[in-house]
Symmetry: D2
Subunit: 268 residues, 4 copies
């Protein structure tokens, strides 16, 4: 059997077969966003009894995985997450996988998924994973800093809109309405009306703004300087080093980017 | 803050930002191969002390994940794996993710990675996972049955060639040679010479063919009929149902495909 | 000035600039259709007073250009034209321009356009060209003979539908109706009704089938054997050679393809 | 025959056939360069006895066609031509053909080719066109003004290098050397050496810089203000209007772009 390897090899026309491979390359000198979304996470969150409308533990797990992605893939300069979705921004001159879309997307998604499964027990020590979590992803390129910021602002506006809606919806359900009644009740309501409804249902003035920042703002993940205030084994007080941080900030506002020009390598 | 959602939304030009999204679609009516490869698996197999040249447990874990992929993604009709690589063949009229390359590839890779991490303890009950396993993937389309079979034959020939080389290499190392000496020793040797070397180093005639079929042939995963020989709770003897099987067969040979025309939906 | 060439060259980073070039390649082993359409030909045909609904001279010019394209680009095995549109089919293993879409499409369109302009006087000796004719094009791949035939049949069905409609429309206009009245009159009519209308307007039984085949069937262009019936200088009677022919045939019918298996290289 | 249209139409599965169409779209908000090149122009220039190394009439014809392209396609903001090559730059927010690569490239190439053929007699009144000229084209996107300028500078540096080489080559041939001797003579020579050779062969000091600017700089085509110095029928002296100009300028130098900020819509 073994003697006919070479013969077999020629029969299979490896060069011809290989020539079908076709890697779509992402345009040079543009910002790459890898956006990943949970597959069937509606069911996943039901099966694992996530708290509604937001499960802090589940979001912390997502954020922990995103931070690990930034540590593994050094070309990622920023990530923004909300619900079961995360967007990773690669610096515009990244040469990761020679900018081949499928490889970049699949490696990031794979790392994130593997980490999510591995760290489950850390974040849910008393919940067995009954159902395999997985994600899909896609890549989009943006040619300028301005459009990247617009993209991220769009995701944060979406976070606000969904969070406000979902907070209303679950307060209505907890007040005794059926899910379909709650849905009908909210149909067509504007931001202002939903806000008033929130205050009324909760009995708290300006209720929306009392919610945890992570629920309202989503999570931003990036490298930042950490200033050590106390002596430690490795160095003296006052020294700083770069670490990955997870924060809940307003990234629609220009102020965020002015305060962190290093993220998008902007000259200020 | 909340009152300005709509305003913010317009500022971010969501339609414009969305219009950059661009999903490369895979050609209709062609066979799609999703090929995944372990990232940094050389190091991963060292750190986890996989047996060389083949670790049966590690391969069984790969095969178990591949079988799970077939059960989750019903459009996958065949998978072939060797070492830390797996190829999944989707039927040619699949509409999975509307044939968008990044989504298909990332979802399959994500599911596989998540499963690999989850089932680790099952296959390595006494080995802690010290290092996160992850994979990358890519998609290739092939327009005919013939070329798909050529593709798979090419992978199996590669399996033979690598396995023969690696078996020689590790026998030399176990016989006392250094890794670089072993490498130099094998440089330029032909199939026949390596075969003779195997017999001589092992002291066994036709040694290569005594190796387990999984090491020599790689693993083929597909849906097949299981015929029940005995009565069981659900049905009478002789009835059959479709199950995912993992087998170590010669898929270069036309005989395999003639025996399983249902895999590629071939009229025989 | 000249002394600083090399310096200038480095400043322009030619390798970097070149690396943005990105040629979308058409999938190997698939049939490529290049479809070209006249740009602003509605106006072009008005300005040059083409006969309505079909101008035989204008169609002959199109056909003459298409035949020239087949003679120049040997990988084109078939062309089908109707109105200001032409589809060119390249054989499935063509390596023209290494299958780069833009180059193939642009070269075919350019040759066709240039020929159209050059031969205008031949077909319209008494009409000055007042307006520059040009065309756009695109490429589509099809993985099998069956789908290519479906594509061509689709174009011929379209030819019938448009021709029947246009013939009705212009007979109504010639009978004194305004263009918008004619349009309203035909709105929603079925094939059978339009057919009866044609007979009625023309006073001829089965009028549609009395129209020239070129108007009803469109034009098919391909290489065929020409059998010489008489002696000529180059050879004896009965010998044959391959020439490009323009014919008006039913290509929806399987009979056409059975009679010309060489076109799509089909084994019959 | 006609009665079965609808039946035929269904048989051909038009929606399925259409769904293979796949238009590669050029990234939004990036500068598009359409670069066209003459096909087989070496032979074309021989057959039509173009003057070597540069034929002013042939270049004027190219420039005239390029100017016509700018007048037809209003989104083109700049063109640069040398020899049988022309690059057209579309403004970065162009929506021409919804940015589908094949359509944009083919329409521009078609218009250019058709114009070249039509205007041949104007520029070569005494030369019959014996051979059909045609061009191919491709599209490349660039994400910033800086890279577009680098692209154009690269083409102009190439123009200098080729022009210097060709001028040397043809002076050597005119001095009695065979073509292959001339080629060998020039092999490996540097800019400075070729410059000295030019002075020596021509007997003119600084000979290269005495060549017409069109040969040395290539041709730049763009919209510019024309200031009328004299009264004319349409308006008074001193008024200006925008016209397409053809100029021979140094576009490597930043000065050119500073003097014409409107071309790339730069804020200065």
């Amino acid at each position: 059997e073994l003697g006919q390897f070479t013969e077999d090899l020629n029969k299979t026309r490896p060069e011809y077969v290989k020539s079908f491979q076709y890697g779509s390359k992402l345009m040079l000198s543009t910002w790459i966003v890898i956006r990943i979304d949970g597959c069937h996470f509606h069911r996943f969150s039901d099966v694992h009894e996530f708290e509604k409308p937001n499960d802090a533990q589940a979001l912390d797990l997502m954020n922990s995985c995103a931070a690990a992605v930034l540590e593994e893939f050094k070309d990622i300069v920023f990530a923004y997450g909300v619900s079961d979705e995360y967007s990773f921004v690669l610096k515009k001159d990244s040469q990761l996988y020679q900018r081949r879309a499928s490889e970049i997307v699949s490696a990031v998604v794979s790392y994130f998924s593997s980490m999510y499964t591995m760290r489950w027990n850390e974040f849910f020590p008393n919940k067995e994973m009954k159902y395999l979590p997985y994600f899909d992803g896609r890549a989009v390129c943006y040619p300028s800093c301005e459009i990247i910021k617009d993209y991220l602002a769009w995701r944060q506006v979406d976070c606000h809109i969904n969070n406000q809606y979902n907070t209303c919806f679950w307060l209505l359900v907890k007040s005794g309405k059926s899910k379909s009644d709650a849905q009908n009740y909210l149909k067509g309501t504007q931001t202002q009306e939903k806000n008033e409804l929130l205050d009324q249902l909760s009995g708290i003035v300006d209720y929306y703004n009392t919610l945890p920042p992570m629920f309202r703002q989503g999570s931003s993940v990036y490298w930042d300087k950490e200033t050590k205030l106390q002596d430690d084994e490795e160095g003296a007080a006052g020294k700083s080093r770069r670490i990955v941080v997870v924060r809940y900030e307003n990234i629609i506002d220009a102020g965020f980017w002015e305060a962190h020009p290093q993220i998008l390598d902007e000259k200020m």
